[in-house]
């Protein structure tokens, strides 16, 4: 059933109150676990309040793309399973699932987090392909931040499997970690009425006007952005939201 209406929510935000007792710019409790699955090369479980997201990293050897013969690549897939939210349906990936995967992909790819050149085994013939899978186990809002965080921790946690000539021995893991440069943290800021909030619950998510995900590196450079929601944002809105995201990204960085 739909819950409180939007006017009611905005009225509460006017006095900096959210119905789960938080303030506008307050995250729920976050827990991060890494290396939770032994069959994956890297894995992580992130919970933000009741939201729970799993991320797994698998690695395989493939032929590189013709336009970048000396670079490995990443693939991010997200599957929104009905187990996590009755609104999600089985079948081909929904628009939400594609957006979630692409946003996480962009955060990792565009930040240059993984050094693609170092994933090359033999130029033009063999490169490592890192595939990151994201599966929410429970959706109580803010899948974006939880997924981005889970993907980051899983990638950080990942080790190469043993490569024996052409064959990969997944049962034997090496101690070589992925070549990483940066650690991008994504923060989603939402606009409801004239208010900005972070870490929405599922009921708040249904009532937002606009959403902006910003991905920050350690040196506070912006690596990626994604705007969502139906209402446009003004330049001032954008500045304010980026500012909020920057301070919040420092908070989230403690969990990595």
């Amino acid at each position: 059933m739909e819950q409180e209406n939007k006017d009611h929510l905005v009225k509460a935000l006017d006095v900096d109150v959210r119905f789960d007792g938080r303030k506008k710019l307050q995250y729920r409790d976050i827990t991060v676990e890494s290396g939770v699955y032994k069959n994956a090369e890297g894995s992580a479980k992130v919970t933000i309040g009741g939201t729970e997201v799993l991320a797994g990293v698998k690695m395989e050897v493939r032929e590189p793309y013709p336009d970048s013969p000396d670079e490995g690549t990443i693939m991010v897939g997200a599957e929104l399973i009905p187990l996590s939210n009755p609104e999600f349906e089985l079948g081909r990936p929904s628009i939400q699932a594609i957006e979630l995967a692409r946003v996480v992909d962009r955060g990792i790819r565009e930040s240059g987090m993984i050094d693609f050149k170092k994933l090359c085994i033999k130029e033009g013939e063999k490169v490592w392909v890192v595939s990151i899978d994201i599966i929410p186990m429970n959706d109580e809002g803010n899948l974006f931040d939880a997924s981005a965080l889970a993907a980051l921790v899983a990638v950080k946690n990942a080790v190469f499997p043993k490569l024996d000539g052409d064959k990969i021995d997944y049962s034997e893991k090496t101690k070589n970690k992925l070549p990483l440069n940066k650690e991008p943290i994504s923060v989603t800021v939402l606009k409801i009425g004239k208010h900005f909030i972070v870490d929405p619950t599922i009921t708040e998510e249904a009532k937002i006007d606009a959403r902006l995900m910003v991905s920050f590196g350690e040196d506070e450079t912006i690596h990626a952005m994604q705007k969502g929601g139906e209402t446009p944002l003004t330049a001032d809105d954008l500045k304010e939201m980026v500012k909020i995201a920057k301070t919040k990204s420092k908070e989230l960085r403690k969990f990595v």
Partner: protein, 262 residues
């Protein structure tokens, strides 16, 4: 002589024997098989004199005549409204039962209740085919405007209301919110945003700790801690006249402790 095979408040699974012998009567969630009473649901055993009940741990709301529930209008029909009461079946609100004012022939029914609006209704009849009739004639039955709605497990509703409404009136008094608890597990809360947030928190806490004995005292202390003293002084102003001394000492005690926290 009958023999009880489980204790009160024990968890039973479907098919588990509860009583051996004919001295007890099976009620909701149980059935008789031979000379035994057997559970048909997963839940807690409740022994009420000679009557054996199983209180389910969870599950959708099963409509019952006489229950007050909170529903959402999902359709406006020729002669009434269809109401979603968060059960397996939807309910029907007839024109005659909807309002005490006169509704002219051919009037626009959305003027009274439109799709998506919430109303508090009373279940007047449930047929064997599970056709549910609801009425809005009765005290407190009305359209619910503003406020927020939360969902709780239907089996926890009696604990939220408390004995003769003790728990709910405690919450109302402390937070100064208007609260309506539907038997279908939907709770409507309306007040100032801060107090609504506290009321939601408390109700969720009750639902979570419903099985723990001594709940009322726990919730009372929790409420005292949660509600800022400033807010509580206003509604309790009348009470202060009766027992001025006691109230004063209470206030003195709690003000310094609040400062320490800050």
């Amino acid at each position: 002589m009958s023999k009880l095979l489980v204790k009160e408040r024990d968890v039973v699974v479907p098919g588990e024997d509860i009583v051996e012998g004919m001295d007890y009567l099976p009620s909701k969630g149980t059935y008789r098989e031979g000379d035994k009473i057997v559970a048909s649901q997963l839940g807690l055993v409740r022994i009420d004199g000679k009557v054996i009940k199983v209180i389910p741990l969870s599950g959708k709301y099963a409509p019952k005549r006489g229950d007050t529930v909170i529903g959402k209008v999902i359709d406006v029909l020729m002669s009434g409204w269809r109401i979603d009461i968060d059960s397996a079946y939807s309910a029907m609100l007839g024109l005659k039962e909807a309002t005490s004012s006169f509704i002219a022939r051919g009037a626009d029914l959305t003027k009274y209740y439109d799709i998506g609006e919430y109303i508090a209704v009373n279940i007047t009849n449930v047929t064997s085919q599970k056709l549910i009739d609801v009425s809005m004639r009765g005290p407190g039955l009305r359209k619910l405007e503003g406020g927020c709605f939360i969902e709780v497990n239907t089996s926890k509703v009696p604990r939220i209301i408390g004995k003769q409404g003790s728990m709910i009136s405690m919450i109302k008094q402390a937070t100064d919110c208007r609260v309506i608890v539907g038997q279908n597990g939907i709770v409507w809360i309306s007040g100032t945003p801060e107090m609504e947030a506290i009321a939601i928190d408390v109700i969720k806490k009750i639902a979570k700790e419903a099985h723990i004995p001594g709940l009322t005292d726990t919730i009372q202390t929790y409420l005292d801690k949660k509600v800022p003293k400033k807010k509580i002084v206003e509604p309790k102003a009348e009470e202060q006249e009766k027992k001025p001394e006691v109230k004063d000492t209470e206030e003195k005690k709690e003000t310094p402790s609040k400062e320490e926290k800050k």
